[in-house]
């Protein structure tokens, strides 16, 4: 057995490869991808090839195909994708790049595709190599804010750790801040969130989502949070044409179709419904079609006899016309 280390001799051997915090400089060269060669000014990189190799084109096309409307959102996504691509190429050519700040806020009325776009965002950022994984963690106030003193920090940190490497999507983010209760623990969660957004910028993209006006008030009371978010994307409500298109796609996904006579009825339904209060855009349309399926099923069962493929697939006008939206004397929100 060696004697207790009185002199510094054994310490020198021990402390060298120490995995302690001061081993940082040692670890550094492995962590950073070193550009293989320095390129001269004349060198060129094929942008189109780089785009297709990274699957950006595919991801963006898929976005275009799957999501109806949302033109400003798609334009912003394209900008972000292009920036990341250019950054990548710059680093390949040995130019200096700074990691862009990609925290975002999605504002817009309910049912305009905020969650769907966030999922796509995670996929695109992963394809571009900005995030290590393509996973999306969706949380709301209850997941982050605790019930009593000392409960909030571990909860928030746990959520952040789970989201690490992907996208953290905070739905109805304004609920984090409750101005009417000054002893609310929401502020604590916001502070931890802001700290992690700053420190772990390369590992985590935070997306705050919510309805426009309430998010506006939320950011007004938390200027620090606003300044840490570079991209404020506003989701416009859908037009009637877009909603009709969404309805068609939702039906096609489930293997249904509108009977030709039902087309006009459906369009009228969309017009009436979108004028009603509590209209949740695509979500309302999907729910309406869900109810139409129920009515179709009842109609078929009640009629009895034999049915073919075509009848099973088709939504007829009566399935839609039974909706309360068509009852003129109904004032309340339709079910």
């Amino acid at each position: 057995m060696p004697r207790p280390g009185v002199a510094a001799a054994p310490a020198a051997g021990d402390a060298g490869p120490d995995a302690g915090p001061d081993a940082g400089p040692d670890a550094e060269p492995d962590a950073e991808p070193v550009p293989e060669r320095q390129m001269a000014d004349g060198d060129e990189i094929d942008l189109d090839r780089a785009r297709s190799e990274l699957g950006i084109e595919r991801a963006l096309e898929q976005l275009d195909r799957e999501l109806v409307g949302l033109v400003p959102v798609k334009a912003r996504l394209r900008d972000v994708a292009s920036l990341l691509l250019v950054d990548r190429l710059r680093s390949e050519l040995g130019l200096r790049t700074t990691r862009p700040n990609l925290h975002m806020s999605f504002t817009g009325p309910p049912g305009t595709g905020k969650t769907t776009v966030a999922t796509k965002m995670a996929e695109i950022l992963h394809a571009l190599g900005y995030l290590p994984t393509a996973h999306l963690v969706t949380v709301s106030r209850e997941d982050m804010v605790g019930q009593y003193v000392g409960h909030t920090a571990p909860r928030t940190k746990d959520v952040l750790k789970r989201a690490m490497g992907g996208v953290l999507f905070i739905d109805e983010a304004y609920a984090l801040h409750r101005p009417e209760n000054e002893r609310d623990y929401g502020q604590e969660a916001i502070e931890i969130l802001m700290q992690v957004m700053e420190e772990q910028r390369d590992r985590l993209v935070v997306i705050l989502a919510g309805y426009g006006d309430r998010m506006e008030r939320f950011f007004a009371t938390n200027p620090g949070l606003r300044s840490r978010i570079a991209h404020h994307i506003d989701f416009p409500p859908f037009t009637v044409d877009e909603l009709v298109e969404i309805g068609h796609r939702a039906l096609a996904e489930q293997g249904y179709e509108l009977a030709p006579e039902a087309e006009e009825v459906f369009r009228r339904y969309v017009e009436l419904r979108s004028a009603k209060p509590h209209f949740a855009n695509a979500r309302s349309i999907r729910n309406a079609l869900e109810r139409a399926r129920l009515r179709q099923a009842t109609r078929l069962v009640d009629a009895g006899g034999r049915v073919g493929r075509a009848e099973l697939r088709r939504i007829e006008p009566p399935d839609l016309l039974a909706s309360r939206v068509f009852l003129e004397d109904e004032d309340g929100p339709s079910r």
Binding site: D18, P21, A27, P132, Q200
Partner: protein, 139 residues
């Protein structure tokens, strides 16, 4: 005397990059990760103190790494290890455990002989570090 323990006891100390790579592997195989520390280096001391709660459902090692940095900052002279717990049926045990920090100087162990009846000698090993109270042992 340098104390080694756990899965990579035979290797030189892992760098942070290597620790992260190991973590990436255990996380991708579905393990929960925990961080523990102690300043009692006796080999039979298996129950170390937990640094926070075990971390479940992770997708990326960054969360563990930030906890590890926090633990090292709070206990710069402790032994710190990382455990990976596999909860799958039939396994349900720690599957990987390795040291990620040791004190800068480790004085080693004293051999104690105790006379027992019938000229028997009993041996025990005590860390010199234990002569000082917990928290000041490696300061």
């Amino acid at each position: 005397m340098k104390i080694t323990q756990g899965t990579f006891a035979y290797l030189p100390d892992l760098t942070d990059t290597e620790i992260e790579a190991q973590l990436r592997f255990v996380i991708s195989s579905g393990c929960a990760v925990s961080i523990e520390m102690t300043d009692d280096p006796h080999p039979r001391n298996t129950f170390w103190e937990m640094w926070g709660l075990p971390m479940f459902d992770l997708a990326d090692p960054a969360g563990v790494m930030s906890e590890l940095q926090a633990c090292r900052a709070a206990f710069p002279h402790h032994y710190v290890r990382i455990n990976a717990f596999d909860a799958s049926a039939g396994r349900e045990t720690i599957v990987l455990s390795f040291l990620v920090q040791q004190p800068a100087t480790e004085p080693g162990f004293r051999l104690e002989r105790q006379h027992a009846p019938g000229r028997t000698i009993r041996y025990s090993a005590t860390a010199y570090a234990l002569d000082r109270p917990s928290g000041e042992r490696y300061a």
